[in-house]
Symmetry: C2
């Protein structure tokens, strides 16, 4: 067993962002990421299943955050307020200081069809988990399915807006704006 | 070149549904599907890239139908009416006589994680195509993104309801119901 290297995970993530940006996602090898981070390939694979996973969340932290937020709210609030509260709780995971790296990550994902598929699947998992959480709160299958879909739609579009060059509003505010815009689209 | 067999494509699709139901998706081979349909494996691969593709639409007919429907509507209608009109045009592709086979297909997809991923990616492609079509109609990036997301959400949930055992309402009617329910969720 190699000696445990403090911060290896974060160093690997930064080295991967640098390498993907400089050489492109396809041309970057796990060996080169590990070398720049100053760890062995073996250490890389202790943290991530493969090259793609460095860009994603192997522990499903976001999925868990959505589900937890859904069950944590006041049992009496309406479905729209519940969606808004879940978005607020989850947005805490993406503070201002994380925006620069999130933009770099977003640009790399946008450059590769396989990474976009991985992102779509992650959102599908979140939607399914959220749907179960809403049902556990006593919502009907149909309302749980729609509420989960609307919540993830507001998050996805709000997060894309948050990454836009020059955007300074918070993720929470942008998700709220998207929810309001969706309401307007459906109301007319 | 093997002689062109009329109806080979449809026979392969039916043979695949039968085999997947009887032996499970994993245990079914392309060879056994081809044998039951009375064609060679070569003919199978002329129609479908692999075993999974028999269950999906290799020509992206649904994606094209969504985009065409979006650009075909009256240029002056509002976004909500536009979404409703697109759903109506696309629902024509799923008439009552297709429901029994769609149910069988849905049950097979629900049995396999890989097939569910393939379905999620298909919906992602449709969403992206629809977003482009809405932008071509002059909608802003944000409204096009939200409208595409709402339209696919109504379609996805309406289609799931259409497949439910004992359900007799049309796909078009169910998509309209889902759009109305989503409006209610957001209004409260």
């Amino acid at each position: 067993m190699a000696r445990w290297a403090p911060g290896a995970r974060e160093r690997l993530q930064q080295a991967a962002l640098d390498a993907f940006e400089t050489y492109g996602f396809d041309a970057t090898t796990v060996a080169s990421i590990a070398a720049v981070a100053g760890v062995t390939e073996r250490t890389f694979y202790r943290h991530f299943a493969d090259k793609r996973e460095v860009l994603f969340d192997p522990e499903h932290a976001l999925e868990t955050a959505f589900s937890r937020a859904a069950v944590a709210q006041d049992p009496d609030i309406g479905l729209r307020d519940l969606i808004r509260a879940v978005l607020r709780d989850v947005a805490v995971l993406c503070p201002e200081e994380a925006r620069a790296d999130a933009r770099r990550r977003g640009a790399i994902i946008a450059s590769d069809a396989g990474l976009q598929e991985r992102e779509a699947l992650k959102l599908q998992r979140i939607t399914a988990a959220l749907e179960r959480a809403f049902q556990e709160r006593g919502e009907s299958a149909r309302r749980a399915q729609l509420a989960a879909g609307l919540c993830v739609l507001a998050f996805r579009t709000g997060h894309a807006a948050w990454l836009a060059e020059g955007e300074t509003r918070s993720l929470d505010g942008l998700c709220g704006t998207m929810l309001a815009s969706a309401t307007l689209v459906l109301a007319k």
